[in-house]
Amino acid sequence: MKDRCTLLIVDDHDAFRASAARLLAADGFTVIGEAADGESAVSAARSLSPDVILLDVQLPDIDGFAVADRVLAAARDNGHVPAIVLTSSRDASDYGPSVARSGARGFIGKADLSGAALRALTGEPAA
């Protein structure tokens, strides 16, 4: 088992990625990559194999649900399945049943993001 949980942050807002990376690094995660759109998120997930992906729902090209589907489908082939947590500045209820139907572990509102909230959903132990 690794000492620290590795994390990929996917969001099209630079300021949010920077703030989230600082906060979660301070909370014991190792941020190994960032992506600003859906396609780069899929390829980063394949090349970096992170333990957790913090995935924004609203991305400029394909949405977070489609990214989750593709990442999980590819991960099942190579045996390393990341824990995907969806995030958005909107409320989860704004997306109807899509969040529950996605293969993600859960949803965190952006303003509520913290290491503890992320761990609660992914089941990763505290660092």
Binding site: H13, A18, S19, A20, L23, D27, S89, A111, S114
Partner: protein
């Protein structure tokens, strides 16, 4: 016009000379059995066509009917040369003997426009030329001595012949004759079909020519068909006589049709005036009355709406007037010098343009009343469309607001929340870092506040509600990136909706100046409110070329001003700057 006159005199003189030449050929021919009557018939047919053709040509120089009729006259004279004893003249007449029927068929199918509109007719004419002229010519190349294959015991020898092969000639001659019968029959059938498609007015003018022409073609078809079975027969002679008689009738049928159309036209206008009175009384349909009077079921009115600068139909839907040559024609209707409407009619009744104009003049007053209804419908349609656009614009604005809030202030507030959470976690172990994070959060909060203020101003500026239009426009001018000179501004408050509309007109205009005006030294804004009318003028000396139909900004403002019974006009010739004027009625 003078050159046309000279050309027609030349053609007329040539026709006269051709007739005299044919007469001399007939009178001196050893094969002529009845020189007197034959010369009279030859000259009657030829000169009738040429004379009538020249008259039609003079009246309508752009219409080819006159030229075609003249051509029938000349080709008739050519076919008469077959009686000549001079071998060269004789064979010239024989080679082009059938041309008269082809030109006649062309005339009848192209009547009255002078153009062949049907592709079937075009094919038939081309096949006719091949069958009647090309095959005939090929046959003449292989027959040195015409007797007896041409029913011509005393005919001169053929100077065109390259060899003599009577059997080959007979084969070619039979092919040509069978082709001729089929072609002429097909032509007659096509004429019958064409007649059925004509309106009653067109039929009135065209029918005599079609009937005489069709009869002639049918007679010659029968004559050629009979000649295939018997060289000499009484029935063959009768059909030939019938064909010639039909040919004599064609030019007179043309004149008769012309007179009937004119008479019919005068009668139709009279009927129209009477029926219009009835129609008005019964609140019936003027279009139907006019359509009936002119015999054109496709006739259509287009009412001119000067306010909207468009033509509309009875239902208020925009109408585009047809281009010349599109099968439709139109004629303007005026009343006391004012353009009221246009009457769009079938171009095949083009000869009736004068009649349509008379009918339009008779109907002008009634049409002016009808225009009011059409105008009302057009305005209701425009109102409906603008209402839909306003709803659409409001939806668009809401979407833009949501997007701006989501991408702007909301992201900054989230970032602040995360930074504060991080600062809190560092408060005890690293207070300096925590302090820096709190400073950063404070800066982001200030930026977010600015963005929210800007957004709120876009929705509705507080200065406008609190301090009125003058202060709000001054604020707009001070924030504009191009220098703005302020002219007169209203000192008193105007109704809220009017202040708001004018404010957004100025805001959009100044945004457009900054965005699109190119090299611009500045803009000028002036607002007046006098005599119950609020007026705003925004002008600049930029690139010009703005079109309110492109882009939603100016279109939306036009709707907004129109919703207050006002008008927005944009003058923006390329290279000469832009001037936007809005006028809104307001109680003084």
């Amino acid at each position: 016009m003078r050159s046309l006159r000279a050309a027609l005199i030349f053609v007329g003189t040539a026709g006269l000379a051709a007739g005299l030449f044919v007469a001399s050929v007939r009178l001196t021919s050893s094969r002529e059995t009845a020189p007197g009557p034959d010369v009279i018939v030859a000259l009657l047919v030829g000169w009738s066509f040429i004379g009538t053709g020249l008259f039609a040509w003079w009246r309508r120089p752009l219409n080819r009917t006159g030229m075609l009729m003249t051509a029938v006259g000349f080709t008739w004279f050519i076919s008469s040369l077959t009686i000549s004893d001079v071998p060269g003249v004789f064979i010239f007449g024989v080679a082009l003997n059938n041309l008269v029927l082809i030109v006649l068929a062309y005339l009848v199918f192209a009547f009255p426009s002078g153009r062949l509109d049907s592709k079937y007719a075009r094919w038939l004419i081309w096949f006719g030329f091949f069958d009647g002229v090309v095959l005939q010519f090929l046959g003449l190349l292989v027959l040195r001595h015409p007797t007896p294959q041409m029913n011509c015991a005393d005919c001169p020898s053929n100077p065109l012949a390259l060899t003599h092969n009577a059997d080959l000639f007979t084969v070619l001659n039979h092919i040509s004759a069978i082709g001729g019968v089929i072609l002429l029959s097909a032509m007659v059938a096509l004429l019958v079909r064409r007649r059925r498609t004509l309106g009653s007015a067109a039929r009135r003018a065209i029918a005599p020519v079609m009937f005489a022409g069709g009869f002639t073609l049918a007679m010659f078809a029968a004559m050629i068909g009979i000649s295939l079975f018997a060289d000499e027969s009484i029935v063959g002679d009768i059909t030939h006589l019938g064909g010639v008689l039909g040919l004599v009738l064609v030019p007179y049928a043309f004149l008769f049709g012309l007179m009937r159309a004119r008479f019919g036209g005068a009668e139709a206008v009279g009927e129209l005036i009477e029926s219009l009175t009835d129609a008005d009384r019964r609140e019936g349909n003027i279009r139907d009355a006019l359509s009936e009077a002119l015999g054109d079921p496709s006739l259509q009115f287009a009412y001119w709406l000067p306010d909207l600068e468009i033509y509309v139909d009875d239902l208020g839907e925009p109408v585009t007037l047809p281009d010349e040559g599109a099968g439709r024609a139109w004629s303007a209707v005026e009343h006391d010098g004012e353009l009221i409407a246009a009457i769009i009619f079938d171009a095949t009744v083009e000869d009736h343009r004068r009649l349509v104009r008379s009918a339009g003049a008779a109907a002008a007053l009634a049409l002016r009343n009808r225009r009011l209804e059409a105008e009302l419908r057009a305005k209701v349609a425009e109102l409906r469309a603008s209402r839909a656009r306003i709803v659409q614009a409001a939806d668009e604005t809401r979407r833009r607001l949501e997007r701006n809030l989501h991408d702007g202030a909301q992201q900054q507030l989230i970032s602040i929340a995360l930074n504060l959470r991080l600062a809190k976690s560092k408060l005890e172990e690293n207070p300096t870092a925590a302090g820096e994070l709190i400073d950063q959060a404070a800066n982001e909060l200030a930026t977010a506040t600015d963005e929210l203020r800007e957004l709120a101003r876009g929705i509705h500026p507080a200065v406008l509600s609190d301090h009125g239009l003058a202060a709000a426009v001054e604020a707009l001018a001070s924030r504009s990136t191009v220098p703005v000179e302020l002219g007169e501004l209203p000192e008193r408050r105007l109704p809220e909706a009017i202040e708001s509309a004018i404010y957004f007109v100025v805001a959009e205009a100044l945004t457009n100046v900054a965005r699109y005006a190119g090299e611009v030294s500045g803009a000028r804004v002036a607002i007046t409110a006098n005599n119950g009318l609020a007026q705003v003028i925004i002008s600049d000396d930029g690139a010009g070329g703005a079109d309110p139909r492109n882009g939603t900004g100016l279109r939306g403002l036009t709707d907004r001003v129109a919703a207050l019974d006002g008008k927005l006009k944009v003058f923006s010739p390329p290279g000469e700057g832009t001037r936007i004027e809005a006028e809104i009625p307001c109680a003084s």
